[in-house]
Amino acid sequence: MKKTNWLLLVLALVLSMFLAACSGGSDDTSNSTDDAETEDTSSEDDAAAGDSEQVLNITDSAEIPTMDASLATDAVAFQWLGSTTDGLYRLGENAQPEPGIAKDHEVSEDGLTWTFNLREDAVWSNGDPVTANDFVFAWQRAVNPDTGSEYGPYMMGGIIKNAQAIVDGEVPVEELGVKAEDDHTLVVELEKPVPYFESLTTFGTFLPMNQAFVEEHGDQYALEADTLLSNGPFVLTEWNHGEGWTLEKNEDYWDAENVKLEKINVKVVKETSTAVNLYDTGEIDRAGLSAEFVDQYRTSDDFVIDEEPTLFYLKMNQENEVLANVNARKAIQMVIDRQAMVDVILNNGSIPSAGHIPQNFTKHPETEEDFRELNGDLIETNVEKAQELWAKAKEELGQDEIELGYLGGDTEVALNMDAYIKDQLEQLEGLTVKVQSVPFKERLARDEAMDYDIQNSGWGPDYIDPNTFLNMFVTDGGNNKTGYSSEEYDGLIEKANTELAQKPVERFETFLEAEKMLIQEDAVLAPLYQRAKARLWKPYVKGVIAQPMGPDFTYKYAYIEGK
């Protein structure tokens, strides 16, 4: 191995000599070499000067698909929208909403009318003041079918008054339940009480837009750095599509005194190994690690594990005769060794999950205890007990040999994991698992059509509330697709979202009960793991807050110290 490396190195050197010799024939050789040298030195100068400078150098895994808040759907877009724009509230420390454009708000007694008082000193980067109308305009735009927004209908439908009716084309867009009482008072009417509405307003789709500016630029709005406005901590000053972008501190930001970072340079780097190499040479301050790098860097001081509130689990289609049997489903829950799975196959800090709410996601409103801790592990790994339950199920079904299809992804990690799970499941006597590995979109299509037996699936939250996970499995819920239907479960979720909407403690406890029913009693899902991301962070980067939803990170309070 070592010998081959050397050979290749020698070869590489020979080739580069050839290259040099080759360009030696052309006239401009000396010039281009000089250029290269001068540029090298200048970049070193930059780095040296960077010691005292508040500059953060990072990478992102993809180009920003859009900077139009109505059209944004992915993590990259929400990240940079969130860094350049303040909504009513923004997520701060511990994922708690903190004032953004809104100073505070009042909620009516029925929980249906929210009145936000906006600060008067917030301005757009073109000097216009940020007004209540900017929110009215942006929210109407998000639900307007002409806009073609995906997240507008998803985030606002059924929440903000008339949003769904507007999406369906039944009422005009002006009827949306959001009004500007005056320049600095925004009144929002909801379809139903939404206890988590404050945290919802931090989400990208709810960000304001400057109507005059958006209309002036029409189709060109938000396509380039100069057709964009900012009212947040940073301004996007340079945007080289596909290559990278630069954000600079917004001096006109209402809270500019708390923003220390002067500049964020972002480069698009897709390969993990490339990012790691750039990190090692000091070009960038952060690099995500994939499983193969984790062992190499685990002992490094720069190694950090960021837990994410995204859950992965097996969905079991109850239209399948075998999976309609609750004992069979329980056997499947119990037979998989999830600890070994996260240790060996994922190896990135992911943790086994034993419920349908991630850990460190929501806390009891009074005792501040974590949801996950309160409900504990709702399933255990116990092969013996699983075999017993499985035998019972087979008896009830009157079948001895059972074959089940298994729908999984086609990425390398997915293939490994699915092979492992197949192996684990087949410990159940008489069970044969047929794995089908399909691309993500195909899996979604089959999920929609309920064309699967067992499916490896995942879910990330849309807002910080247990409802975002538990609401999925109500009868005929858009993302249920397991055939699970329980009046009792539906009743609990309904109760939590209506009569208990204003009673946080009882509501939280109802969700605890609902999760137990979903996982423990009815065994609708077989939980697998909660995802985490292993990263390298330069120790001189301080104050970056990792977020469970919306933008992955808050850079507002970030700073460089001791570089």
Binding site: N5, D35, G148, E150, V167, V269, K270
Partner: protein, 308 residues
């Protein structure tokens, strides 16, 4: 000659039309929709968004609309980069890919030809063996292995050149070398084989017998003849390199078109898929025409045959 070119141009248009049609319908077989939040939206909500992109129309209607716009030079608007025009995206991304492709082809061909010539001239000598060894190595080791090694040794360990990113001329050196390995190997191998064959033919033996020196024969007679098959292979290879290579672009974080093409397919970004396919197809057809014309320039016998 002019008539021949015009005839070829007409064929080109027909070929492009057929490729556009075929790609359009094949593309419709891709699973899923261009919606990125398809898993979160109800069917009704999805329909509202698809309406905006004209994807609710029957496929033949979509095809007709697309072709009508295409004829007018409008490639449409990307689905994944909302509202951005396909033409703009392709123009932004093709630059780096073209630059790398051209540099790699240029360097690769020259070094390859030199290696091949050396091998042929010093047939069965030490130089022949070593350059053949290099050629075999270059062809059998995938470019991403070279890319990774170059990045690690020259970029990280030695620090001579930038590890990755795209911020100036020096950033293109490592990706160019990685990309050039393959053309070097191909050119060297073809050159060697062809030269040996040509050098064994009667007219070369005659020339030598008449006292033309070895190098004169090699360059005046042998080289020109050996170029024909080489150009045949290098043309399409050049297109492949210029339209971007996913792996090299990813490893060196080059904002090129290759990666964009693959991503577009994964995301069902139909207009980008069509735009990129048509661009690549056009370059291919164009290069083939150029090659055919070059044959005539290099070898008078072919020119005569076409003339008749």
């Amino acid at each position: 000659m002019t008539r021949y070119i015009i005839q070829r141009l007409i064929y080109m248009v027909i070929t492009m039309f057929l490729i556009a049609t075929l790609t359009f319908f094949l593309m419709k077989f891709l699973p899923g929709t261009p919606l990125s939040a398809a898993d979160k939206l109800s069917e009704e909500q999805q329909a509202v968004v698809l309406e905006k992109y004209g994807l609710n129309d029957p496929v033949p209607v979509q095809y007709f609309n697309y072709m009508t716009n295409l004829v007018q030079g409008d490639l449409g608007i990307s689905f994944q980069f909302d509202n951005r025009e396909v033409t703009t995206i392709i123009m932004e991304r093709i630059g780096p890919s073209m630059q790398l492709g051209v540099q790699a082809m240029f360097i690769g061909t020259i070094i390859g030809i030199l290696l091949g010539l050396t091998s042929a001239i010093y047939h069965n000598g030490m130089l022949d063996y070593s350059s053949t060894f290099l050629a075999v190595l270059g062809q059998s080791i995938p470019s991403f292995v070279f890319a990774g090694l170059l990045q690690f040794f020259i970029g990280v360990k030695l620090g001579w050149l930038p590890v990755a990113l795209w911020e100036g001329w020096e950033y293109s050196i490592l990706p160019t070398i990685s990309l050039a390995i393959f053309p070097i190997a191909i050119a060297a191998r073809f050159m060697r084989t062809e030269m040996l064959e040509v050098m064994g033919s009667d007219y070369i033996v005659t020339a030598r017998a008449k006292g033309v020196n070895k190098f004169g024969v090699v360059f005046k007679h042998g080289f020109r003849n050996a170029l024909i098959p080489l150009i045949t292979v290098l043309g399409p290879l050049a297109v492949g390199l210029m339209t971007g290579t996913l792996v090299i672009e990813n490893i060196f974080a080059v904002p090129g078109i290759g990666e964009q093409f693959v991503k577009a397919i994964n995301m069902n970004d139909f207009p980008i898929i069509m735009g990129t396919t048509l661009l690549i197809a056009f370059l291919f057809i164009f290069i083939i025409l150029v090659i055919d014309l070059l044959y005539g320039v290099i070898d008078p016998r072919i020119r005569l045959a076409e003339g008749e």
